[in-house]
Point group: C2
Chain length 438, copies 2
């Protein structure tokens, strides 16, 4: 049963592998070939799985894939979704099949993992500095002449390392490098246009390298003051655009097109508008968005931010039909030790806790027709490594053995806790297993 | 090269597996058989690895193994170290070879993973409620008559589920169940001695089950007021002891001995003293400690707490030679974008951030003789998914490409971020790879 398109990736090896007893979420005492998961007729609400279990709603994934495809088409921008969010080959495949230009990644091991599954074009949206990592990626480029990799630099030392290794690596093509423009007080990246210009000259002159574009990350500007955010993001994007004109005027860009890349999961509409407006350069501009969290959205931080994005988009867009949360973690009530307290079989090892704690959505007693929504007063206020503390208002019927469905905030820090996640239909029938490669 | 004893576990399969490019920490562009890691002559300080990389100092592991073995011998208690900390078969093996009575685990999948590697006795220090999990563990017990499993219960519903499944499972022996005594306002466990007594009667009378002992977790009482902690822990342990006498007087225990288990990684000395003093029951008492963090210790929370423990132990113990931090995460400086700020290639995906952020210990420029200790003012004050922000006082020489070694606080939430960790000698020569099974 193929639910998600595979984008042509090499996923058969994963589907053929034996899932071992002890794989979180799977109720197996014997090894099970992964492609057999879909025919087990497991249903999460029937308590057929182990708990906790991480599930992805297929209908929401498909909706979000289509949403983003339409968004990119509307603005004539391309998407290299940040793969570090999920690190799931099957989800990479679905993204590529839905028109993604490539996959963005954050580290050399992530690039190697993606390449192994067949991803053909990667934007490494990070400085590449460690010599062993540089060597491993150059070996990949040497052995696979069709593999495309773009990397970042924000320092002369970074450029020196890349050039020194690339020049003698025999990869048969220059290594495309984007200069990173940063933001004062934030993360990496040149802090001034002058610094960025100087570094761009260094890259353009370096043996083995090619200045392929400019990268920035406006997502570092997200704060609680959203109106101020929008102003700051637009100012930053204007700087990127200005730098592009300046570098182009100096003839520093070396590739067939000029990549301008930004776009976390909160303000990518602003990026699409700003970079879509950069025109009149000596060669085509390719605006590359990088949102990673659009695919699954969440029930917290990103759901709010993309709702605001939809509002900015207005009626022409999908205000009434925005990105949908796809990722849930279901656990079981292990204990009801006191009135008002349920202890769940889910902890820091299972669900994000960095931005917010998981949001308890629903309780389900197997055998009941539907899960029951939990009231606002029912909330998780603490997690240990393997347990969550669900506080319950008076009158909420939650017993030992009931199932509790939770939304999460920040998909990146939930995906990395699950080697295998289960795709489910809207009735929580398990359709297939997907992998993560963290 | 065997550095750690293997405890007789089935580790050859792991050592024979092909480590794939993309495995965090490994500088490989081609698959590498795991047992070949030790002959690559990688040295972390020579920047031979990928960064970040998680390393365990073999000398510290061996020291801590011996320390705990001596501790248990001194108090005549046994250790079932909490395996959820590391979930590493190789470390389980070393613990078993150093006299561990069994391995404690927190979830059914963890039990299945440990059993697969050859662990023969598990204390599941948690309620076992999900029917699929119960079935999977009963299948394990049925298929392996020599496998020993102890589980917890704190509710009649939990007992009903265990009994209903165990009675008809054909496992040929009763399932040993410990009643969990809890603490008001804390996690699972019966809240009063009366409740625990009633539940113990239920367990003792349930088909397929055997009342094997009492479990509690004094670690939930750790607070910033350590003097008060000690009082509260001792009071709680006295309750466990009183309950043991009461249940024994009623003849409820069913096994050959009475398990009394407690002991996180902070106050296990108090547990050893308290349970070692329970005498005069109808059958032998077996005090089972469960510390998981002693093996690697850390540079934060647990290092402090075990130093206090050593102080309580006085001169007769190892005050001058306590548990040593074994776990470090090394990353590389990706960017020096501003004075006073270095961006490291290590983030929430790589190091604990739940109790404290990583502690920057040392900086090393490959080629230098030794790493240089970082001053107290050099500290990580923020992490993103894949980056850390290292703040630097004036005059500290840190450049792009330098390596930064960090200690962590709370090993459990670092181990689960690393499928493979590297054992190193005191000069950071890589000796072998070990696995985690999260």
């Amino acid at each position: 049963m193929t639910i998600l398109p595979d984008g042509g990736l090499f996923l058969a090896e994963l589907d053929e592998q034996l899932l071992q007893p002890g794989t979180k979420g799977l109720p197996i005492a014997q090894p099970l070939r992964q492609h057999m998961v879909g025919v087990q007729r497991w249903n999460v609400l029937a308590a057929d799985t182990s708990f906790p279990v991480a599930v992805l709603k297929t209908s929401s994934l498909l909706h979000n894939l289509g949403w983003m495809r339409a968004f990119c088409a509307r603005y004539d921008v391309v998407l290299a979704p940040h793969g570090k969010t999920t690190m799931s080959p099957q989800l990479f495949g679905a993204q590529l099949a839905n028109g993604a230009w490539g996959i963005t990644l954050a580290t050399a091991p992530q690039v190697l993992a993606a390449a192994r599954c067949g991803v053909r074009r990667v934007l490494l949206a990070n400085e590449l500095v460690a010599l062993a990592d540089i060597r491993a990626l150059l070996a990949l480029l040497r052995d696979d002449p069709g593999f495309e990799l773009f990397v970042l630099a924000d320092s002369a030392e970074g450029v020196r390392r890349l050039s020194g290794a690339a020049a003698g690596a025999g990869i048969g093509r220059p290594l495309p490098v984007l200069v990173e423009l940063g933001i004062a007080g934030k993360r990496a990246g040149c802090r001034t246009l002058d610094d960025a210009l100087a570094l761009a000259r260094t890259i353009a002159a370096a043996a083995g390298l090619q200045l392929a574009g400019i990268e920035g990350y406006e997502g570092l500007l997200v704060s609680d003051d959203r109106a101020a955010d929008v102003e700051r993001v637009e100012a930053f994007l204007a700087q990127v655009s200005a730098l592009a004109r300046q570098l182009d005027a100096e003839g520093l860009f070396g590739g067939p097109q000029i990549l301008l890349s930004a776009g976390g999961s909160s303000y990518f509409d602003l990026v699409a508008r700003a970079f879509g407006a950069v025109a009149g350069l000596s060669r085509p501009v390719l605006p590359v968005l990088r949102s990673g969290c659009y695919l699954t959205s969440d029930h917290g931080h990103y759901l709010e931010l993309t709702a605001e994005l939809a509002a900015r988009e207005g009626a022409e867009a999908h205000a009434a039909d925005g990105l949908r949360p796809a990722l849930e973690v279901w656990s079981i009530v292990l204990s009801r030790p006191e009135p008002g307290l349920a202890i769940l079989s889910m902890g820091k090892r299972d669900a994000s806790y960095d931005l917010r704690l998981p949001l308890a959505l629903a309780v389900h007693r197997p055998g009941a027709v539907h899960p029951a929504a939990l009231p606002d007063g029912a909330r998780i206020d603490k997690m240990n490594d393997q347990h969550a503390y669900l506080r319950l208002p008076d009158g909420v019927d939650v017993q030992v053995g009931d199932l509790v469905g939770c939304g999460i905030s920040h998909p990146c820090t939930t995906f990395d806790k699950w080697p295998v996640l289960l795709l489910v239909d809207d009735d929580y029938n398990v359709q297939r297993a997907i992998n993560t490669l963290f």
